[in-house]
């Protein structure tokens, strides 16, 4: 597929806007808190759209749509329903208000920091920090590779050049403005993603003549496309469509979005905007995938990642294909920067500043802390860029394993830490190590063809959390009170924070 000068110009203008906004936002960064969680003053609309933009990546626009092409409307409907219900409604209801409230009370900017204080263990901060830092890298590399491949396929720019351009753009606004830049540009990115997929969906519908011609074709020629399973075994549907919405509960880069919120009462607006955004996005992808199936008459593609770019090339005009290119850039960049920021937060804040500071007894001043944060963010971005230039063949399955491992490791400790007073330090260690271990072993044993590694991981994680917690001594009541009672005495809060120093 080749794009003309107009589409490329649109993409260049878009990237310049993103970089410009990031540079402007850099003036707001005065402290480490500003860098990592936007000073906890990000509005609900920016939070919701930023969250959605970080959750969906190029693999959603290209990969999920290809899956809808292959497996039909039942599969698409299931993924849409679960994504909206779990990723935009349930997760904010369950985690949003309490994570926001506790992150301010305890002055934490990351999931690792929260877990360290909740379970009174500095070593847990190190364990979680290392797990996050390590697992985020393949995840970020896969996202970067995806967008590099797409730009190469759509625009014809060489893969390596595309990677370099992406990483330079990400660097310019991420290193200077941190979370402030990410939250603001994510708002623009999220709007761009939504507009671009809606525009392409409208173009596809114009080409097909509506939804009925699509479904009539499917009913006549490919009836499996109109079944709930699309011909897939149950466990495969669970792995493909069912697992990702659940994985979101344990993703550190998404938890940071709750911490950056203005206050807990704004979660209602976040839910409304998030649900609306995700409905529009998922429906647009469904139309694109099923419409492409009709337009290409169910043709088999050697490379399924080309389905969407070819649909855009053949059935969209100049402006819409330019918008699509901007949407791809937006989806890829927003995910990459969220992952890189989370990984570098794990290294700079959790491991170096918090864990290392407590071990050495030295506190780092605010200005130096921001600079260290920027340097480490730059190093992580450089690692992602270098590995992305020549990524291993199995990077996609590695990134799936990485996301599943983090989901399996952290979901139980976070949810039970928030809502179960009986959760203990030993239970958390068992849950994190057991959950992550089970997911990794399942992947290494080549069993992901049976079901996603997240599933055995999360089962092991929850079971160990509950069983080991019940078998061990409860945590002190005055410590647990900090996580469950409003109006807690500041001495108790300080004691809880200091309990993570050991």
């Amino acid at each position: 597929m080749k794009l003309g000068i107009v589409q490329i110009a649109m993409a260049v203008v878009y990237l310049l806007v993103i970089v410009g906004v990031g540079l402007v936002m850099s003036r707001k960064v005065k402290s480490s808190d500003d860098f990592w969680v936007g000073g906890r003053s990000v509005g609900p609309i920016a939070t919701a759209v930023s969250y959605c933009a970080a959750y969906v990546s190029t693999s959603a626009i290209i990969g999920s749509t290809s899956m809808y092409y292959l497996y039909g409307l039942g599969y698409a409907g299931l993924e849409a329903m679960l994504s909206v219900l779990l990723c935009c409604f349930a997760i904010f209801v369950i985690l949003g208000p309490k994570v926001r409230a506790l992150s301010e009370r305890l002055n934490v900017v990351s999931m690792s920091g929260f877990l360290a204080i909740r379970y009174s263990s500095n070593k847990l901060r190190l364990l979680c920090g290392v797990l996050v830092a390590v697992m985020m890298i393949p995840y970020a590399v896969a996202a970067t590779k995806g967008i590099g491949d797409t730009i190469n396929a759509v625009v014809g720019i060489p893969y390596v050049t595309a990677i370099i351009i992406l990483c330079v753009v990400a660097c310019l606004y991420l290193i200077t403005s941190g979370y402030w830049g990410v939250a603001t540009t994510d708002l623009i990115q999220g709007i761009t993603i939504a507009i671009s997929v809606v525009a392409v969906a409208a173009a596809v519908l114009a080409a097909t003549g509506g939804i009925t011609p699509i479904t009539e074709y499917m009913a006549a020629e490919h009836p499996l496309q109109l079944t709930l399973s699309g011909g897939l075994p149950f466990l495969t549907i669970v792995s493909y469509a069912g697992v990702w919405p659940f994985i979101a509960f344990g993703q550190p880069q998404l938890m940071t979005k709750f911490m950056g919120l203005k206050d807990s009462r704004t979660v209602s607006s976040v839910i409304r905007v998030g649900v609306a955004w995700m409905i529009v996005f998922m429906f647009a992808l469904t139309i694109i995938g099923s419409g492409a199936f009709y337009l290409f008459q169910g043709k088999t593609f050697d490379n399924i990642d080309m389905i969407v770019p070819l649909t855009v090339a053949d059935y969209s005009g100049t402006f819409v294909s330019g918008l699509f290119l901007c949407g791809i850039l937006a989806a890829g960049l927003s995910t990459i920067v969220a992952l890189v920021l989370t990984s570098s937060s794990a290294v700079a804040k959790d491991i170096y500043e918090d864990f290392g500071g407590r071990v050495s007894g030295k506190k780092i001043e605010a200005g130096k802390s921001v600079n260290i944060s920027r340097v480490i963010t730059g190093i992580v971005l450089l690692i992602v860029a270098v590995v992305s230039i020549n990524p291993p063949d199995f990077v996609w399955s590695l990134s799936t394993m990485a996301a599943g491992t983090m989901g399996a490791a952290f979901t139980a400790p976070v949810i039970l830490g928030l809502y179960w007073k009986r959760a203990t330090t030993q239970g958390c260690y068992a849950s994190v190590i057991g959950g992550a271990g089970a997911a990794i072993v399942w992947y290494m044993a080549g069993l992901t063809n049976l079901i996603h590694s997240f599933v055995p991981g999360i089962v092991v994680s929850f079971v160990l959390m509950v069983v080991v917690s019940l078998m061990t001594k409860p945590m002190p009541e005055e410590h647990v009170e900090v996580f469950f009672e409003p109006g807690c005495k500041k001495e108790l809060i300080q004691a809880a924070i200091e309990s993570a120093d050991k």
Binding site: L73, G77, A80, M81, T227, R265, V275, P486, G487, C488
Partner: protein, 60 residues
């Protein structure tokens, strides 16, 4: 059975169409019901009080 027609919406069988209907109608309705409930209002104020009450503690 002769003359029997299965239900379809926009050419989709009801089983498949229901997934989309749940997504676009049922989930938003559930969401608004929850967000307008006393339970949610109390929950939001409860967690807002975590930090408000801490601020009052600091002022004392």
């Amino acid at each position: 059975m002769k003359g029997e027609k299965s239900m379809h919406i926009l050419g989709m069988p009801i089983s498949v169409a229901s997934l989309f209907l749940i997504t676009v109608i049922v989930i938003p309705v559930i969401s608004e019901t929850v967000l307008h409930s006393k339970w949610w209002k109390d929950k939001s104020e409860y967690y807002f009080a975590f930090n408000n009450a801490d601020e009052n503690e600091k002022k004392e």
